[in-house]
Symmetry: C2
Subunit: 425 residues, 2 copies
């Protein structure tokens, strides 16, 4: 920890930059970086890094480079517009430890616009809240990463260790953006991911899997609906059976998830079926997102899903002979428990306590984050630590400005100690 005088200066330097930081975050939210459309927001990030004097590495993800690495998730979409951006600060004589400050640029779809109070990309401030799709998840975090170092620079210092500012794509569907950073060789002594953890330290996260179930039917004229097999309605008992598996896994818990209300969530999140209102539908496809515990082998998870779908299908004479097809695409993400890296964790706890005046609480995630890649596949302890946000993936997503301020202060203090400081050039 920096001494008291420097600490006070750093905290104030963050405050001095806060208005600019919030304006910057709002500007970033206004760039609608939905999956497949992140390129302009990534240009913005690259410019921000270049202006600060960081070495900018911008590259398009190449599936062939990463598809055989552990943690890869299969994709059915083109990566022609999937640009990662990393800005690196490399002091001439690195004395301190190195750090990855990671965030993702992609945001999830808005859903029906009429359910938003104001247009989702028209970012605005109301009271303590900054609104907009992606405000919390996680453009506030991308800005925190940059502005924590800016506060040090404002005091005439720069970190005396390597820092890699990563702005990655694909966090919301595969994590292949973070994986591509590993493949490209980025390493550090620890990583901080400023996901909206609600001022807490992510200590464990579930595994997440996406799959599609493609169900066939036997079409017929609706006038003789009994002679057909309705592919849409055939999905209902399959979904019900999968909820049975979800209930089982919620009963039989991983110890770190004992206190969570409902750690495992199986959600049917997309559905599409049928072509014509007067035909018994011949096809229906639903998408499901499921989760599992750290340590559960994904091959076992897939087997459980397949057995469940097959079991439900055997009860239909048509589906017994025309079994649904299961396609895995998107997340094939293992669970992760933050282990090791006690030195970094202790330092973050101490920085947090200085800023908040209270102990850093643990956060157990019932979703996934890119932290798993660093921790599981590169032996880099990855601490998820970010601001308070609400309605992420929902309507009127927002992030707390006071929380942004405090997290930025904690991270700036952390950097000052972890990397050390040197006089800015």
């Amino acid at each position: 920890m920096p001494d008291t005088e420097l600490t006070t200066k750093i905290l104030k330097a963050v405050d001095d930059g806060l208005q600019e930081q919030i304006d910057y975050t709002a500007e970033l939210v206004r760039l609608p970086s939905l999956r497949g459309q992140e390129a302009t927001a990534q240009d913005f990030m690259a410019r921000s890094m270049k202006e600060r004097g960081y070495t900018v590495d911008r590259w398009k993800i190449n599936v062939e480079d990463i598809q055989n690495l552990p943690g890869f998730s299969p994709v059915h979409i083109s990566y022609d517009d999937a640009w990662n951006v990393v800005g690196s600060h490399r002091p001439n004589n690195a004395k301190g430890k190195s750090l990855i400050l990671n965030g993702h640029i992609d945001v999830v779809p808005t859903g029906p616009l009429d359910m938003w109070t104001r247009p989702p990309f028209d970012s605005y401030v109301d009271g303590d809240w900054l609104y907009g799709r992606g405000a919390g998840d996680m453009k506030a975090g991308l800005a925190i990463n940059l502005y924590a170092v800016d506060a040090l620079r404002r005091l005439g210092y720069m970190p005396a260790g390597d820092i890699h500012f990563q702005s990655v794509v694909e966090e919301e569907c595969t994590g292949n953006g973070a994986l591509a950073c590993l493949q490209r060789g980025y390493r550090a002594d620890t990583a901080i991911i400023t996901e909206p953890s609600g001022d807490r330290l992510g200590s464990a996260q579930v595994g997440v899997m996406w799959f599609q179930v493609k169900v066939r039917g036997r079409p017929a004229h609706v006038a003789y609906a009994g002679s057909g097999s309705n592919a849409i309605e055939a999905c209902f008992p399959i979904i019900e059976a999968l909820h049975g598996l979800e209930a089982e896994w919620n009963k039989d818990r991983h110890p770190m998830f004992h206190d969570e209300e409902h750690p495992i969530n199986f959600v049917v999140s997309k559905i599409e079926g049928g072509d014509w209102t007067s035909s018994v539908p011949a096809w229906c496809t639903f998408d499901m997102r499921i989760s599992c515990y750290p340590g559960q082998d994904l091959a076992d998870v897939r087997r459980a899903v397949e057995e469940t779908v097959a079991g439900a299908s055997r009860k239909s004479s048509f589906l017994a002979n025309n079994p649904p097809q299961i396609v895995y695409h998107g997340f094939q993400a293992e669970g992760y428990v933050l282990e090791g890296g006690e030195e970094g964790q202790d330092l973050l706890k101490s920085c947090h306590k200085t800023v908040y005046g209270e102990e850093l609480q643990k956060r157990i995630f019932t979703g996934t984050t890119d932290a798993r890649f660093y921790g599981l596949y590169a032996n880099i302890p990855a601490m998820v630590y970010g601001p308070k946000s609400t309605e992420i993936h929902g309507f009127d997503e927002r992030v707390s400005i006071e929380s942004i301020r405090k997290v930025t202060q904690s991270v700036a203090l952390f950097i000052a100690d972890w990397c050390g400081l040197e006089k800015a050039a």
Copy 2:
């Protein structure tokens, strides 16, 4: 009925033209006249009528012309490509009665191509069956209408009464094509619709209604699925409740439907919902086709649907405050019982018996046909009478060639008597 000698000649004249008729039908099936793409098949029909010397009336349906007429069904699509074609034979001094020979050119979608033995529009003959989407429903009928008169012409005769050959669009979704024929002034003493009735006479048909139910949800990150309200799964109990109404109506039957196995069919036939696999879906829309009995007021049917949906929705705290929206589009079709026109019915029975050697059976339709427009709104008894077909709206749709032959013979005999004959010019 024509005398025995003429009858024999007419039957043979149909046989003599049969190969050409089947080739013609196959050619017509090859034109993929899906809704919105009927224009080229209608050009083909118009050419066929012109070649035969009929006056061809081809016009685009104008919604404004028909939207206030009874039997109109609301549409959400453009009619920019909705062309009707009517070819009229008008003898100089009409001595006999007049006749409408109606058929529809639109076919329903094919569904997944891999479930067809051969491509759906690659019409082919195998044994007694002519295959292809629309082969039975109802391009065979359109050809029967033309070739029945061709048989008479081959003998040197033409009908001595007006005949209007109608090739209409929109039968599969609204019936607005047939309605537009009425609006344009086409009338006759009776109508025959050569829908695939399986060599039987349509005596009653259900009413049919299409509607969409738009269900909202409260989205959230799937990690906290419990805090959201899943719009897709919210549809399931609503669909179940609608099936309850279906069961009620199947119990409490219209007398003409007593012997049908399951006259009323409520079918969820299309569904779409959700945007993102890791968001609790905020919206889901399903399409349903339902049916009702002749005499049931459609306003009462809509009320029953609305009460059922509202009742199921009240059980969800979210839907109770965010009630699903019901949108009516497509069929708003009343049921119809063939009444009156005994002279025409008796004649058709007698022609049928001559050809088939057995009595004409009644056919009760659990679907709708355009017959309702003529019978309910123009006082024209409309007889649905056509060939045997199977898998209509399904895969490997096909129509029996032997049945086509016999129906064409019956209709030719009917015309010879109903309209009378005069020497062809």
